[in-house]
Amino acid sequence: MFQYTGYILAGVVGTVAITVAAFLIGAVLGVPLAVASRSAYRVVRWPAISVIEVFRSVPNLVWLFLVFFGLPEVGIRLGPWATAIITLGVTSSAYLAEIYRGGFSGLGQGQWLASKALGLTTWDRGRYVLAPQLARVVSPTMATYAISLLKESALASTIGVVELTFRGGLVAQRTGDGLTTFVVVGLVYLVLSLPLAYTSRRVDSRLRAKFSVG
C-alpha cells in the first residue's frame, strides 16, 4: 500500500483548496448576513435569521447532494469541484455569521455609541472601531471553525471530488488494505489541522498584545 502514499498525499492540494476557498467565501458572505441579522428592521432581520437557521439545520451532505444532483433539473449544472466549494462556502457563511454575531454582542454598545459621539461616519466606525476589536474577539473561534471545515471538506469525496478521502477510498479498493490506507489518510488530516491550531493561537496572542488596553 505504501507505494501509493504519494498518490494519497497529492490529495492534500484538493483538500486545502476546498477548505481555503470555502472559508473565504463564507467569511465574506457571513458579514452582510451577520449585519442583517442584527438589523433594527424586522423585514431585514427575519429573513437573515431564517437563512442562518435553515443553512445550519440541514446537514452539509444534504446540501451537496441537493446542489449536485438536484439543481441540474432546473438548468444549473456545476462540476464536482465547483459544487463542493460553493456549497460549503455558502453554508459556512451561516456558521461564520453566527460567530460574528457572538462577537458583536460581546463588544457591547459603548464602543458604537462612543464612536458616534466622536462624530465618525458609519463606515469609519465600522472600519476603525468595530472591525479591529471584532477581529480580536472572533479570530480564535474562526480558526476553530476552519479546522472543522477542513474535516467537512472530506464530504466532497461523496460527489466525486478527487481530494484526500477520495484518493484514500480508491487506494483502499485497489490494494484491499483499508486499514493502513485510512490510518495514513487520518494522519494527514491531523497534520493538516496542526498549523491551523498553531496559527490560531499565535494570531490570538498577537492580536491580544496589539489591542490589549492597560
Binding site: V58, P59, V62, F65, G70, D177, G178, L179
Partner: protein, 214 residues
C-alpha cells in the same frame, strides 16, 4: 405536491434508522466522554496520554474517515461489521471525544472556591466530587451536550456512505427511480431541518429553565 408527500413517506423509515443511530451512539458517547474526561486527569502518565490520543484522534479526523476506518479497515484484522454496528462505533468515538472536551471544560469552569469550600467543610473528596462539583458542572455541560446531540443527528447522513439505509440512501434510491432528485433531496432536507429546528428550540427552552434560579 403529491410526489413530494410520497417522497416524505418513503424517506420516513430512514429517519427512524437515523434517530436510532443517533440515540444509540449518543448514549454510548456520553459514557465514553465521561470516562475519557476523568482519565485525562488520571495519575498514571500512560493512562493520561492514551486518553488524550483517543480524544485528539476522535476530534481531529473527519467522521467520514473514521467510518471508513471502522467499516472498510477493521475487516482486515478479522472484524466484519454490519453497517449499523460500524456506524455506532465510529459515531461513539467521534461524538464521545467531543463530549469529553465539553465535560472537561465544564468541570474546570466550576469556580475553585467550591472545591476549597467543600474541603474546608471537611467533605470527603468523593463526596465533594459527587455532591458539589458534578451537579454544578452538569448544569454548565448540559446545553452544549444537547447541541452535540443535534449535531450527531445531522451527521447520521454520513452513514449513507457505508450503505446504512437511512434518509440519504432512501433519497438517493428514490431519486434514481423517479429522476426527481431535486424534489426528493428537498424532502430529505425538510426532514432533517424539522427535527433539528424543533430540537434546538427545545434545547433553548431547557437552557432558560436551567438558569431560572441563577
Amino acid at each position: 405536491m403529491d410526489g413530494f408527500l410520497a417522497d416524505l413517506q418513503i424517506l420516513a423509515p430512514g429517519l427512524g434508522t437515523a434517530l436510532q443511530l443517533a440515540g444509540l451512539s449518543l448514549a454510548l458517547a456520553y459514557v465514553l466522554g465521561l470516562v475519557l474526561a476523568l482519565l485525562v486527569d488520571a495519575r498514571q502518565r500512560v493512562v493520561r496520554i492514551a486518553a488524550l490520543v483517543v480524544i485528539e484522534v476522535g476530534r481531529g479526523l473527519p467522521l467520514l474517515v473514521i467510518l471508513y476506518l471502522v467499516y472498510r479497515g477493521l475487516p482486515q484484522v478479522g472484524f466484519y461489521l454490519d453497517p449499523m454496528p460500524a456506524a455506532v462505533i465510529a459515531f461513539t468515538w467521534s461524538i464521545g471525544a467531543y463530549a469529553s472536551e465539553i465535560m472537561r471544560s465544564s468541570l474546570n469552569a466550576v469556580p475553585p472556591g467550591q472545591r476549597e469550600a467543600a474541603a474546608a467543610l471537611g467533605l470527603a473528596p468523593r463526596s465533594a466530587y459527587r455532591d458539589i462539583l458534578l451537579p454544578q458542572a452538569a448544569r454548565i455541560a448540559i446545553p452544549p451536550l444537547m447541541n452535540l446531540a443535534i449535531k450527531a443527528f445531522q451527521l447520521t447522513s454520513l452513514a449513507y456512505t457505508i450503505t446504512l439505509s437511512e434518509v440519504m440512501q432512501a433519497a438517493y434510491l428514490r431519486g434514481s427511480v423517479t429522476f426527481e432528485y431535486l424534489r426528493t433531496f428537498v424532502a430529505a432536507a425538510v426532514l432533517y431541518a424539522a427535527v433539528a429546528i424543533v430540537a434546538s428550540l427545545l434545547v433553548r427552552r431547557f437552557e432558560r429553565r436551567l438558569h431560572r434560579h441563577l
